[in-house]
């Protein structure tokens, strides 16, 4: 089903940030200095033992890592395979996003930055950024689409309570894509003191690689935990939802070069892939450039970026990280999708049979399990990227409709 090319190292992009044809740093000259500094220093900083120790200590005592790998017995029985859940929902702030913000805030300190900016869609990355800024006493400004601010009031309140300034993005479609534009512009306008914490494996090189590396703790732990539980470090499948693709990149990372492991990325199909209201980027997109990298992008025939739709704000992005575009193009990854309705169904079902209310994003990953033709001998790890508290309003609405 999946294809594997032994000559490719899927983990590491080229020196200029390319995974195959995807990646690079398509940025205006005004950002060159900042991005170049990051590019020349991120690996060195990340490999410094003192840096690693500082990150690891916070991941352990503040975030609560390692997160459990949980054998979902009822789900396993139902699907007819062994299903493990990687419990990123148990991270502090309720999702995997903080793995990256912890790493980047310490990196920002090493670079001598005093101010942090970030973009956010649903607010999860904004909250994770505001949290680490509070922890480190750094000024924090979060850009958020005006529409998303209306839709995600609890997370806006959280960010404010944590001391962050939330700036509405009023340009374009007033959602995540525009919040990202505004954050990049803010960075252009004050590049010297500011570090931009991008929340996903998108943006100009080195962000996709840097964020993937900070999130790779997910698969590093999966390998150890699986070994303890099954005797083998390798599952047969890893399943994760993909918007920009940060939890998937983290869950796939240490399996990218393992031929036997099938990597399943689940995109949001919205009302249906071809309904015109979808965020299934690999199915609907073409190669293009957005937010500083070349990847697969949903766009009009004239190359204007299209506003996607998904019920989950975290998957509502017209692009996909360049690593994922490469996994798609090279067929190393298996790309599937789930509709809004399927995701809602899964969220309710998983809540009932496992006692875990997943985030709407994560619910998409569960929706494909019955379609994967799994065998009883298969061992599947699903990245349970976030908890569903933030989606309660949507879930309540769905329950009202079912009445």
């Amino acid at each position: 089903m999946h294809s594997f090319n032994k000559s490719i190292n899927y983990q590491d992009p080229s020196a200029e940030g390319y995974y195959g044809d995807f990646g690079g740093a398509y940025i205006p000259e005004m950002l060159y200095g900042n991005v170049e500094t990051l590019k020349t220093q991120y690996l060195q900083i990340m490999q410094d033992p003192a840096f690693k120790a500082e990150v690891d200590a916070l991941l352990k005592d503040y975030v609560g890592r390692p997160t459990p790998l949980f054998l979902a017995e009822r789900l396993s029985k139902e699907i007819g395979a062994t299903i493990y859940l990687k419990r990123e929902d148990l991270c502090h702030t309720g999702a995997h996003k903080i793995n990256n913000t912890i790493g980047q805030i310490i990196l920002a300190q090493r670079l001598g930055k005093t101010k942090i900016i970030a973009e956010t869609g649903a607010g999860q990355h904004g909250v994770a950024t505001a949290t680490v800024c509070a922890l480190k006493g750094m000024e924090c400004v979060v850009y958020m689409g005006e529409k998303d601010i209306e839709r995600q009031a609890p997370n806006v309140a959280r960010m404010k309570m944590l001391g962050a300034t939330v700036v509405p993005a009023t340009s374009g479609s007033k959602t995540l894509k525009d919040a990202t534009n505004e954050a990049i512009r803010a960075w252009i306008n004050e590049p010297n003191e500011t570090h931009y914490i991008i929340g996903s494996v998108v943006g100009p090189h080195p962000y996709p690689d840097m964020v993937a590396r900070f999130q790779s703790v997910i698969s590093e732990e999966i390998r150890k935990q699986l070994k303890e539980k099954t005797g083998s470090e390798l599952p047969t499948h890893v399943v994760a939802c993909v918007g920009g693709g940060s939890n998937a990149a983290g869950a796939f990372y240490h399996f990218l070069n393992e031929e036997s492991v099938e990597l399943v990325a689940v995109e949001a199909a919205g009302y249906g892939v071809y309904s015109g209201m979808s965020a299934a980027t690999t199915q609907l997109g073409k190669p293009g450039i957005l937010h500083g990298s070349k990847s697969i992008l949903m766009q009009t025939p004239d190359g204007q970026v299209v506003e996607p739709h998904s019920i989950s704000a975290g998957l509502d992005y017209p692009g996909i990280g360049p690593l994922h575009a490469f996994l798609y193009e090279s067929k190393r990854g298996t790309f599937m999708s789930a509709t809004d309705e399927e995701a809602l169904e899964s969220a309710f079902h998983i809540s009932k049979i496992e006692g875990i209310i997943p985030a709407l994003e994560t619910a998409h990953a569960f929706s494909v399990l019955p379609k994967m033709n799994l065998k009883p001998t298969d061992v599947v790890v699903v990245c349970l990227s976030g908890r569903g508290d933030k989606d309660l309003a949507t879930y309540m609405q769905a329950m009202d409709l079912q009445k």
């Binding site: 060159y32 340009s171 252009i188 010297n192 004239d302 190359g303 204007q304």
Partner: protein, 256 residues
Amino acid sequence: MSRLSELFEKQSKRVLNVYCTAGFPKLNSTLEVMGSLQSNGANIIELGMPYSDPLADGEVIQSSGNVALANGMTIDTLFEQLATMRNSIHIPVVLMGYMNPILQYGFEAFCKKAKEVGVDGLILPDLPLFEFEHLYGKTIKENGLDFVFLVTPETPEERLRKLDSLSTGFLYAVSSSATTGKDKDFSKVAVYLQRLQAMKLKNPVLVGFGIKDKETFDAVAAYSNGAIIGSAYINALSKSVSIEETTSQFLKSVLS
């Protein structure tokens, strides 16, 4: 010799490049705006191709781009409009835009067509040096188009020299690291421009970002070959009832 080189040979000081958005304020006002700019004293026209996500631009230019897109502007339509451009426009015309719409049009086809309609050069702020050298620069040169790189006060000298060596036509000096349409501290800008002058670059230098009136134009023209005005003119156009009247008043106030 290219139109841009000819221009700078004749005029080395106070060259005024004015930015306008294709398809703004009306879909078919592109040539009217360009004609007005030419007859009222602009030396170069920087014609912006609208894009949904213009990272290097501020609010004013993005809004004009949104209007143009809503008007139905596309690269195809633009080239149709420009097909007769050289019947009336004799000053250099430089296309400014972002990579994605051009890639969808086809990069090579775009360069060919641009040359064919009489465009002189390109400014593509999200085409970086590495990709220019390895992928796209050759196509631009082969089609006889000038290419203008941006430099900023933070650009290190070695890189600045490289960007200058690869640019033709002129070099675009961003007055400070900022998006378009922001106010600047012009005493700092002067120090930066004097540094550029002392470097004896290959290309003439035009200064952009934050140039909005006579005062700011004079401030940077003193230490460069001229300047680029964008947001201030678009602002004036967006409130305008007559393109000719607005353009005439605007350029008079800048050049007086």
